[in-house]
């Protein structure tokens, strides 16, 4: 399990990945004439229809290659819509302080001016502040960018009120689809009052990601925006009748990997997709229930539940035990886990998103590891373990350090390598110990070979 919060790392089934090797799809040029790519276009049409259904929108553009490119495309569509209505001056974009940093970056690139709105102490959008700022900028309000469920892993209760405030003041609502894994089949962006959203097909719809892509970030739009979807100079068919310029060179982005999402959707069907969402939410709440006795859960909704992810508060450990969240992340490697997201969206916290992919045994294994690490922190808090020289600060432990005859840590090699029973059956041995991040960041070394090395010997 790679429980990366905010990034939905789910199972990428081999059966979903297989079609990308089919020569008929794999060997097609992105600019191939329409009549030579009919199979592709049939797949695009069905995928667009299915994604429209999942989002509650009228039209879809499969062009953007990433979430950020989707944001840019969606905002350019909103801008074109305002211009077509003679509202070229609607350039203010409201963004809540809880937003992912990509949102303001995309808005600036698309030519908007950012106005940040506040969040309350529960992590929700401060509706009064939003209302005041929408009112203040009502003549120039262009858009709101909002993530639902929020970056804090909570279904924002006031979401429909929020979107109607924006509409009442002449703005359009852009929904960041990063957390769609908590919506598919249960609710949708159209339902909450959004006008545009992107989908991270590499998160919600099973395309593998990490290590730089490739991803896909198609955008869905409500009917009044369909005419503005991005076009392509290479393919007349792509985009709406008043299309904005292309946002990506290829008219259908990284078209080949759309096969993966297509397979995921077709094999699960509507019922399976909905069940996936339900399991993702149930799994997150199971972890929350097990861990909340041991860790603070930073934000919960009104029923004391979370959406599909949660933030574990690790901030007090620094004061009480000198333990930083990175130490927990490193220690998790000794337990055989890739760490959840650290210090996002709140510094010194862990953001956990199990997704629907893992069974109860795996969830329990992860919870057992987290609970065991909490006990190790407690040993430091109550003075039984040293603040500097302990299991967490020295993690991760390689096989090389465990078998070293000069072992001189104040704990046993067994405690370091096998702190918990399941590790005796399944142990991941990490190849390197702690890397000095600060040294690495301060001393960039170009590893390009010198030009002389290209000379023929």
């Amino acid at each position: 399990m790679i429980p990366l919060g905010s990034c939905t790392m789910k199972l990428n089934a081999a059966s979903e990945l297989m079609p990308i090797t089919f020569p008929g799809f794999a060997h097609m040029h992105p600019f191939a004439p329409l009549e030579q790519a009919q199979g592709y276009h049939e797949m695009f049409a069905q995928l667009e229809k299915d994604l429209c259904e999942a989002t509650g929108f009228a039209a879809m553009s499969l062009q953007p290659n990433s979430g950020a490119q989707g944001e840019y495309a969606g905002l350019m569509v909103i801008k074109a819509y305002h211009e077509a209505n003679g509202d070229a001056d609607r350039k203010v974009c409201l963004i809540p302080s809880s937003a992912h940093g990509t949102n303001p970056a995309s808005a600036v690139m698309a030519g908007f001016e950012i106005v940040v709105t506040k969040c309350d102490e529960m992590g929700n959008i401060d509706v009064e502040d939003l209302k005041a700022k929408a009112e203040e900028h009502k003549d120039r309000l262009g858009a709101l960018m909002v993530t639902y469920p929020s970056t804090h892993g909570v279904y924002e209760e006031a979401i429909q009120e929020i979107t109607s405030i924006i509409h009442a003041h002449g703005g359009q609502v852009y929904m960041d689809g990063a957390n769609m894994n908590a919506q598919v089949g249960l609710t949708n962006p159209g339902n909450i009052g959004a006008d545009v959203c992107h989908l991270n097909l590499h998160k919600t719809f099973a395309i593998p990601h990490g290590g730089g892509g490739p991803g896909m970030g198609p955008i869905g739009v409500a009917a009044h925006l369909a005419d503005f979807l991005p076009g392509s100079v290479m393919l007349e068919k792509a985009g709406g009748s008043k299309a904005i310029n292309a946002v990506s060179a290829a008219p259908y982005g990284s078209a080949l990997i759309l096969m993966i999402s297509y397979a995921y959707i077709k094999m699960l069907g509507a019922e399976g997709l909905r069940h996936s969402t339900e399991m993702a939410i149930v799994n997150a709440n199971y972890i929350k229930a097990r861990l909340s006795e041991h860790y603070g859960i930073l934000y919960t909704g009104k029923n004391n539940t979370v959406a599909h992810e949660m933030i574990l508060d690790c901030r007090d450990f620094k004061r009480d035990a000198g333990v930083e969240v990175a130490d927990i992340a490193k220690r998790l490697i000794d337990y055989g886990f890739h760490s959840p997201t650290v210090s996002f969206p709140v510094a010194e916290t862990l953001m956990i998103e199990p997704t629907e992919s893992e069974d109860k045994e795996e969830l329990d294994r992860f919870c057992d590891a987290m609970i065991s690490i909490r006990k190790e922190i407690k040993e430091i808090e109550n003075g039984h373990a040293d603040r500097e020289n302990n299991l967490l600060k020295n993690a991760p432990h390689t096989a090389d350090c465990i078998i070293n005859k000069d072992w001189n840590y104040p704990y046993s090699p067994q405690e370091a390598a096998y702190p918990i029973e399941y590790l005796k059956d399944y142990k991941y041995w990490v190849p390197v110990r702690r890397v000095d991040n600060a040294f690495g960041d301060r001393n960039l070394i170009c590893s390009c070979p010198s030009i002389e090395s290209y000379e023929m010997a």
């Binding site: 990175a326 991040n437 600060a438």
Partner: protein
């Protein structure tokens, strides 16, 4: 935590030391502790005149990048170029070798609005 009595502070965790009409500005001990290992300090506003609360640069730590805000309005007359090769001084000596910029104060009345050491101590608790 070190909060020298003779300095002025902002809620954004900058400190200000005034000598004549020149203010030396850096980030507090609390700020460097929260940021962790600082790997880069970027200030490209030397010679510019900025308003209070405008961004004069950014500080990059291993885990995050943070904007630096002008505590008061004025012209940035000097950047501590030592930080280009030794950004870690911000961690080791935030009020000394880790200073960031010197500003020619535009309006000394603005200095009165800054926090004193006790008020800043109350803020970071």
């Amino acid at each position: 935590m070190n909060i020298p009595q003779e300095l002025k502070y902002t809620k954004d965790h900058e400190w200000v030391k005034v000598e004549g009409d020149i203010a030396t500005i850096g980030i507090t001990d609390f700020a460097q502790g929260e940021l962790g290992d600082i790997v880069y300090v970027e200030v490209e506003t030397e010679g510019e005149t900025l308003d209070a609360e405008e961004v004069f640069g950014s500080v990059e730590a291993v885990k995050t990048v943070s904007d630096l805000f002008m505590p008061i309005a004025g012209e940035i007359v000097e950047f501590n170029e030592e930080l280009e090769s030794e950004p870690e001084s911000v961690n080791s000596d935030p009020y000394g070798a880790g200073w960031m910029i010197k500003v020619k104060v535009a309006d000394t009345a603005q200095l009165d609005a800054l926090l004193d050491a006790d008020a800043y101590k109350a803020l970071v608790g």
